[in-house]
């Protein structure tokens, strides 16, 4: 691929929702998510000549965004880390696509540890199967499955423990 500005603009428009949403779900901060998404695309612009295909671009974007987000939260001193146990208690609701439940789930996912959070975002935002997530993150598939199982169990527990939301 070339670093042709028109091709680059096309790629940004095509993949902006993926990169921005990954950052937004991970950080729960739209301004910071846009900043990181911009940096990822600028890095893509410099890298374009060495990328071979659209699939390669998508894989590269997921990999760089995921690692960028993990690095960011590890080095972020200003934003205090909130473990899952400290996350706000959910408001009871069982209806599907309930905006309050969705918001609560986003908070709970954002409170997961870094690697588990990225795995959950790739699984449920990007709809990748565990094998693709393992490839995207250079992570053993057993680790990916373990993150998914543990995170789902934690979320179920958090939702049902006090407010009785059973999912």
């Amino acid at each position: 691929m070339t670093d042709d500005p028109e091709l680059f603009e096309e790629l940004v428009r095509e993949h902006q929702a993926m990169v921005f949403s990954m950052a937004c779900r991970y950080l729960r901060n739209r301004a910071l998510a846009e900043e990181i998404a911009q940096d990822v695309f600028l890095q893509l612009y410099r890298k374009l000549p060495s990328l071979e295909s659209q699939d390669h671009v998508v894989h590269w974007l997921r990999w760089v965004t995921a690692h960028r987000l993990i690095d960011h939260s590890r080095h972020e001193k200003r934003r205090p880390q909130s473990p899952l146990d400290d996350a706000p208690e959910p408001v009871a609701s069982t209806s599907s696509t309930d905006p309050l439940l969705s918001d609560m789930l986003r908070d709970l996912v954002a409170a997961l540890p870094e690697n588990a959070r990225v795995v959950m975002i790739l699984r449920y935002q990007e709809d990748l199967d565990p094998m693709d997530i393992a490839r995207a993150l250079d992570m053993p598939i057993a680790t990916v499955k373990s993150h998914l199982q543990r995170s789902l169990a934690l979320l179920r527990d958090k939702l049902s423990r006090e407010k009785g939301v059973g999912l």
Binding site: D3, E9, Q16, L42, S96, T97, L105, V109, Y124, Q125
Partner: protein, 96 residues
Amino acid sequence: MNLEDELRAALRREDPSPGFANRVVARAQSSRAPKQAMPRFIWAVAIAAMLVIGFTSTYEYRQMKAERAGHDAVLALRIAAEKLNMTRDKAMRREN
């Protein structure tokens, strides 16, 4: 709906604010422009500096050579004049 479906709904993709792509493209182009202009600018300055140094040193060398030739000519004339004076003095002494 089960938890996984709820998660898919909660984590579905969303677009960044309007104009995001334009801002990214503008930043990419502005970050590339100085990188391309810089080597050309450096090459132009280097060539100009080399030409100035070359012309200056050639000019100074020629000027120094001309000055030395002038000094040599004056010295040669002095020596010739002294010899002529000595010869004239000898000739006058013989006549006396």
